[in-house]
């Protein structure tokens, strides 16, 4: 015995790797058991949540069921309101396009000089409505592609001279005739007429065409 110590290693090579004092044979079952218990708790909590949500769903469904008839009535009323708004809107298009020219026509008689004899006053009928789509492809449309209509007012008559005709045209420029005519006018003809007055004077026949204010079928 020279004082040197003798060390005998009795551990297996697999045991050398672990520095933990708790053996793997204890840890592994314990971890597996804890994992299992954890999963059971997780499962339980999910089932509990599911039950709570199920109960809440039942309550909501009962509430919805109880309100269903009242709600259906409200929905029906909402749909009706939407439909009536659209109908009123289309009828307002019509109302905004209504032409009322009684008053200016009454005033026309007042401003027509006595030396003028009107032979014709006319607003020509509108041409047939074009309901074809712009590219002419597909079926006709339910409504026109334009919401504006323009017509012409033709005033024809006879006069002894051109001065009364000029006076009539100037009178029609007044604002009180704004519903009847615009400032845009064209003298279609102004010529010697074959007819004569009682005192033998030759008459002049005239025809003036006015552009009328637009009828706008819109809001």
């Amino acid at each position: 015995m020279n004082g040197e110590s003798f060390h005998l290693n009795l551990m297996k090579s697999g045991e050398v790797r672990s520095s933990s004092p708790v053996r793997l044979r204890v840890m592994m079952p314990l971890l597996a058991m804890l994992a299992t218990i954890g999963l059971v708790i997780w499962w339980g909590s999910i089932l509990a949540q599911s039950m709570i949500i199920g109960a809440q769903i039942k309550t909501i469904e009962e509430d919805i069921g109880a309100k269903r008839n009242d709600h259906a009535e409200v929905i029906e009323q909402q749909n009706l309101v939407r439909e009536l708004k659209l109908q009123v809107e289309q009828l307002e298009y019509y109302r905004n396009g209504v032409r009322a020219i009684g008053e200016p026509l009454a005033k026309l008689a007042e401003v027509t000089p006595v030396r003028i004899q009107l032979s014709e006053l006319s607003i020509a009928p509108m041409p047939p409505q074009n309901l074809m789509p712009p590219n002419k492809k597909g079926p006709p449309l339910w409504g026109p592609t334009t919401n504006v209509e323009t017509q012409k007012l033709v005033i024809a008559g006879r006069a002894t001279r051109e001065t009364p005709v000029q006076a009539l045209m100037e009178s029609l420029d007044a604002d009180e005739f704004a519903k009847l005519v615009t400032k845009s006018r064209k003298v279609n003809s102004f010529k010697q007429d074959t007819s004569q007055t009682k005192d033998g004077r030759r008459l002049l026949a005239f025809e003036v065409e006015y552009t009328m204010p637009e009828r706008r079928f819109a809001k």
Partner: protein, 199 residues
Amino acid sequence: MKSGLLHNMAPNAQRAFLVTLVFSAIAVAIYMFGVQPASDSLDKETRRKSELENDQNRMNADLRGAETVKKTLDDMRAQIAPYESAFLEPLLESYAMRAKSILDPLAMGAGLSDMGYTDEPFRALPLTKPMARQLYTRAAVRMTAKGSYQEAVSFLLRLEKDLPLVSLQSIEITARQKPSEQSIDMVLEWPAKGKVTRK
């Protein structure tokens, strides 16, 4: 080889290994047949609850606004009422017949005579966006009569006063020998239910 490995283990290590194996199997089974389906089911129920809550909230909001909707509906009915009383509806399948029954008293009151009425092609009104289920159109009727210019104007003034939604589409007053018997030809328009037939 594995059984050899197990065989070489100490008895308590073997027991630990088996216990671990059993618990692991139980854990996997719980996850696969318990947690996973329950979790999927919970997700579905959560989504269903969310949808139902949305429906419920929408319903409650709609029901809270029921009074407003009812008031708006009454307003809309009041707005459409003047038009409904002005619609031209056919009499004996003829719009001209209906126009005659409406316009004859006015024309006679204005002093016109020899009135005649014929149906004219209807004109479509511009459409709204979106389009209403019930469309309206411009019903047109041609009226011919005899009378003076003043009588024709008087008729138009009465028409505008009594039937403000009737519109003059066209007019032609042509002079005749007698000033009291001028030829009057006019096309009048009414609002009417329906749409222009597509050909």
